[in-house]
Amino acid sequence: MKVVVCVKQVPSTEAKVKMDPVKGTLVREGVESVINPFDEYAIEEGVRIKEKYGAEVIAISMGPPQAKDALKTALAMGVDKAVLLSDKAFAGSDTLATAYTLSLAIKKIKDVDLVICGKQATDGDTAQVGPGLAQRLSFSQITYVSKIREINLENKEIIVDRLLDNGTQVVKAKLPALITVVKDINQPRIPNIFSIKKAAKADIPVWGPQDLEGEANKFGFDGSPTQVIRIFTPPPRGGGKIIEKDIKESVAELIDILSSQGIIKI
């Protein structure tokens, strides 16, 4: 069995993305990058499948050269190989172009049975690349997976739990399939020093458009139908009133405020 895990490097949430009020541009204090939190669960699940069923697990990422760091973490956690998709031609990709580029890499890897993505990335929060990738590959699309119950390689089937709004759906799908995973699926391992050192030395191949059989106008900026035309800070939150009375009076005042504004109905 061959499993591909898709990984994105994102700015750390602790980095506090802010606007520069004078220049009106994005400022990131301490530009620390981390693996997208949902992708850690995807990597862990890939490694667990390998341990349970025997599989070759390959992590792929598209991004600038420093995204290699994210792939090294994936290697330290136990994936077998990693590939970075990085080239100027990929710059400015929106979700359509990203899913296209990743799909070509997965086709090049060949005979992939299962693709695992995080539910969404914490920078863009779109949750669009997973479904887009499933369509490009014509794989069964299974989003919001909270548990893999069974993989039956003989019948080419996978049974999973999906976390939906009102409960959990148990579904069976044909392989090859693409799943997007939520946090509940596992507890990612913390790699030990030995595997971190080994991963640091690993050779991570970098693929560009010349390595993929794609159409040039579907990559990067050219292949991205959406354009960001403005970035701004949301209006500051109003209010900010601390009610400082004894508990009984504070609660009474709070309920008065909320019900007079029609926020709660009593």
Binding site: T13, K16, K18, G24, T25, L26, V31, K88, A91, G92, D94, T95, L96, A99, T122, G124, D125, A127, Q128, P131, A134, Q135, R136, Q141, Y144, S146, L164, D165, N166, G167, T168, Q169, V170, V171, K172, A173, K183, D184, G220, F221, D222, P225, V228, I229, R230, T233, P234, R237, G239, G240, K241, I242, I243, I247, S250, V251, L254, I257, I263, I264
Partner: protein
């Protein structure tokens, strides 16, 4: 496509280097800006350059033919009931359609959908495109996007709106790829650029720390998912002359690639947090699983749902389905009551766009107070029971 430096105009001031979050630009040995391989063409430096020495080479894409016209809303339904976000979108869609002077369409996919069609007629659509077949009774990605593509190719709407629900985001991501067009996720604001007639799609990013306005200038349709409860519920306006076009299905039962084995409903709490107008949420300060019962009691009194911080979920006090925050759900209720939640940035990312935030915490320095509209500094084990008591008292007086 590239970021270009007009060398003769660059003053070497270095502002572009400061604003670039990606180390995508540097000063070369001649003291002039030079683009590095890290550049992702985000364009922030272009706006920052005081000398106007930077620009991104224009797209040469051909604008798709102007044959696309009209605003289409995807009607989401389950158990023969239309999701409220679809009505909200019909209301917003009507306003946009009027502004563009184009028709409003609805798209209904399902089985035995006559009463859904009748219901949608109350929301001022000009044409309803409907397709029904037994294998379309429950949502599944593949057959639904095959039918949606068929309808969109016939109706050619310039805009397609879909609710940013669990189902809607599964559907929209797949459909936009099939149509090879642009999709903007989770919008909180939609408007029309009067000059160009483009849909301006505004959405939070980076956990709500910034807002971005996105357009899809060349490809059609322009697709957006919109968060539930952001757009107002419109008045019912029955359209007697609303035309219904019944389509023949183009998918088949063979396109059902998921087989439903079981459904395990969420047993605790009557309202799920994705839909709730009011969320009462508990964090580390709850101290243990047994104490969540008072939050459920308060939530039920207010007709709301119970949420939790990651700390509470990871401690096993409440299931993951209730987690609000970066690795849980993003919510935007009318009222969010945070009990014993300090307000780590990862938690704020999932709830800071709530309309009104109330914080109850014994630590006056807790960051949650910085974003709360109203705060009570105190022991939640005294404050919450007091809230329950007073609300019950007022309810019995009012009834």
């Amino acid at each position: 496509m590239a970021l270009i430096v007009k060398k003769e105009e660059c003053t070497g001031c270095g502002i572009c280097i400061d604003v670039c979050p990606y180390k995508g630009i540097k000063l070369n040995s001649a003291g002039i800006a030079e683009v590095t391989e890290n550049c992702i063409l985000c364009g922030q430096c272009v706006d920052s350059c005081p000398a106007g020495a930077l620009y991104i080479e224009e797209k040469k894409q051909e604008r798709e033919k102007q044959s696309y016209s009209g605003v289409m809303v995807f009607i989401e339904h389950e158990f023969n009931k239309v999701h409220s976000v679809s009505f909200e979108l019909l209301g917003k869609g009507k306003k946009i359609a009027d502004e563009l002077k184009v028709p409003l369409y609805a798209m209904i996919i399902g089985d035995q959908i006559n009463n859904i069609i009748e219901e949608v007629k109350n929301y001022d659509a000009d044409i309803i495109y409907a397709v029904s077949a037994p294998w379309l009774s429950d949502y599944q990605t593949k057959p639904y996007i095959i039918e949606a593509e068929n309808i969109i190719k016939l109706a050619k709407p310039e805009i397609v709106l879909i609710g940013a629900t669990t189902l809607g985001r599964d559907f929209a991501g797949a459909l936009a790829t099939r149509l090879e067009t642009g999709l903007t996720a989770d919008c909180t604001e939609l408007s029309i650029d009067k000059e160009k007639g483009l849909l301006l799609q505004t959405r939070p990013a980076f956990g709500g720390n910034i807002m971005a306005t996105i357009t899809c200038p060349y490809k059609r349709p322009q697709m957006a998912t919109v968060r539930p409860k952001v757009m107002p519920m419109p008045q019912k306006i029955f359209r007697a002359n609303c035309k219904v076009i019944q389509m023949l299905p183009v998918s088949s039962h063979k396109d059902l690639d998921l087989e439903l084995i079981d459904f395990l409903p969420d047993t605790i709490g009557k309202v799920n947090i994705a839909e709730a107008d009011i969320i009462v949420s508990g964090g580390r300060g709850m101290k243990g699983p047994e104490n969540f019962s008072m939050l459920f009691e308060l939530a039920e009194l207010l007709g709301g749902a119970v949420g939790a911080s990651r700390a509470a979920v990871d401690s096993g006090w409440i299931p993951y389905a209730h987690q609000v925050g970066q690795t849980g759900r993003t919510v935007r209720p009318k009222l969010y009551i945070a009990c014993g939640i300090s307000g780590a940035i990862q938690h704020l990312a999932g709830m800071q766009t709530s309309e009104v935030i109330v914080a109850i915490n014994k630590d006056p320095e807790a960051p949650i107070f910085k974003i709360a509209n109203y705060g009570i500094v105190g022991d939640l084990f005294k404050v919450v029971p007091e809230m329950i008591r007073q609300i019950k008292e007022r309810k019995s007086k009012n009834s």
